[in-house]
Symmetry: C2
Subunit: 420 residues, 2 copies
Amino acid sequence: MFAVKGTFFDTPSPDALRMREGYLVVDNGRIRCFCETLPLELRCIEVLDYTGKMIVPGMSDLHLHASQYRYTGTAMDVALIDWLSNYAYPEEARYADPDYAARLYGAFTQDLLHTSTTRSCIFATIHTDATLILQDLLEQSGMVAYVGKLNIDRNSPDYYREASPEAGMAETIRWILTSRSRGYQYALPMITPRFTPSVTDEYMRRLGEAAAEYGLPMQSHISENTDEIAWVKALCPDTSYYYETYSRYGLFGGTTPTVMAHCIYSSPEECRVMKEQNVFIAHCPTSNENVIAGIAPAAMYLREGYHVGLGSDIAGGHTLNLFAVMAAAVQMSKLRWKFLSSDYAPLSIIEAFYMATVGGGRFFGKVGLFEPGYEFDAAVLNEPVNHSVIDLRPEERLEIYAYRGDGKAEAKFVSGRKIL
Amino acid sequence: MFAVKGTFFDTPSPDALRMREGYLVVDNGRIRCFCETLPLELRCIEVLDYTGKMIVPGMSDLHLHASQYRYTGTAMDVALIDWLSNYAYPEEARYADPDYAARLYGAFTQDLLHTSTTRSCIFATIHTDATLILQDLLEQSGMVAYVGKLNIDRNSPDYYREASPEAGMAETIRWILTSRSRGYQYALPMITPRFTPSVTDEYMRRLGEAAAEYGLPMQSHISENTDEIAWVKALCPDTSYYYETYSRYGLFGGTTPTVMAHCIYSSPEECRVMKEQNVFIAHCPTSNENVIAGIAPAAMYLREGYHVGLGSDIAGGHTLNLFAVMAAAVQMSKLRWKFLSSDYAPLSIIEAFYMATVGGGRFFGKVGLFEPGYEFDAAVLNEPVNHSVIDLRPEERLEIYAYRGDGKAEAKFVSGRKIL
């Protein structure tokens, strides 16, 4: 048992920011209580003193491509087709080399460690060994992550495609079993068909069986742009909606916890099933502003009770800093409201903070709030302004950090473990 | 005479990034030559060694409100009318207090000093004494700036408006003469009517006379949103175009060097006159994404030969970091292209860099390039990635800095003077 002292920010509901100064008592990885002063019976426990510092719940990054880390923040002014053929595919193919994987995933893991993110859902590449290297690195870091070896057996260059569903499944099973035998506690496997255009029906069917057999969650992309939706319809003529290409194989929520990235153009029927099946939506606003496929209706998702969190979506997104992603969520929702659809008022920064903490955290259990019983995930931050010169209200402290903070945690906790 | 050693990035033309490793020789504030190795006759001069560091031309910020610095990065989710009445006006009114001005302008100047910006065009407030305090602080910093005491005699709250054109002119003349008597070399006065809705015709007329009499440049806002344009038309029924409310008093380029912020909805006729009169356009993309009045046709302005630079426009913009503004310029041009008008392909990061350096620098003379004869304005930067792990091409180094760099200069030069 120990206590952390500081200024705690969290969101008990999507429209309510709470700021409390005092002590959070942590017992066996979970929050026991908050108190303004430590009661007598707790005076002997260790206190980690961050007086005056902003402390936020550890954030959950629901969608990112670790294998695109090298060029994150570049290639932002090339068209999508060039981006895929000149950047994404050649770069991901380099992870066939374990040395390259160790070097780049090492840099990625270190950089992620220094953000406010404590949990994430990660796309790796088709390479089993490189994916296991990433899991080793994440496991050592102490962060919690679901990691996906990708499945791709169509519609990518020959040099970056699995030969057949059989060959792909053999590697996928080897990867799952090796993950088990290594006894990972934090870096767990997640079934990851890249997206329907990359995966034949037969391969998708087998992935659904594997998810059920091994009790694994799944992640993929859906309805990011209109051309993609038409393409999926042509590839799978026996489906009426994009989501069916996943759901018919048990890969769309329900008993298989699912994260779907983007959901920009999901039809009402797709939305209905997402909600009913508790599919988590990874809203990726920095990707929206860079890839310009569209702007997801994130305010609608949040206010209508969908499960929605944020994703950095590197390298479509340009930063791992989820505070910057929060700011982009507000900006993109304003642009959507102004230019595309005025159905829902723009997101507030408090709602964006809720998505980054509670919204995504829920995928990992009781994560994202400073409430008794929740896992103690937290990041201690250095604010970008001097409070002796500049007076700010609590919501202004949060907002200014989102827009101007460096996103670098001074200290970080996951399930009560201090990992930074 | 001295030399600076490092890796120099600049843009001899809007579509060409140049990266050179070697020495830049500086003589009497101006660049004498670039050389890969120092020739024999220069071996004895002092060398400031930044080997391996990225060095960029000092950037020019053509539009910012220093008096809104306190809340920069906040109030991003309130509507414009609330933003003005609850943030901008009350905050600017606080600068009636010289102690407040000294404290806040001090923080602003320090923060600006640590960016890559060496020159700027700044809006202060209506208060003469506070504006002079800002000029004192800027002058001491060594940065070059045009600073404007604002002129406002209508359409703002009673507590933040000048009583009459006569009263406003008396203060304006006192401010100009005091600026002269203090002998500022770097922090120079610039006539600054807030914008037409804030300034009566009579006051505007007198400001035009003052600009001519004292040989001062001017800055203001124009055509930021459609409601504003309609309002100006109603306020000045004897004009056909917004620009005429400035030009008829000699405040729109020509012999009065002029910067106009925004130019989002400038009509073809307004554009024609801007170009003909060499009016500089301050493109403010972060403001575009926050205030969502619209997205300026910056790619058109640049490619059609207008004078166009970047403005941080704090606090409509959320950061003084012009690299972040460059990234936003690319993002906003992509969103404009996708959703509003496909007339001009989106800006490249190189074009955005050109606007931040050469485009805005031209307002200050030969500034913004590492060419012989140009003033030596430069910022030395720490890149966000480790080049021993991550291999990048020159344009990727620039782009990754724009999207992921912290924008903090390690060293900075203005006209050959090392000020940081």
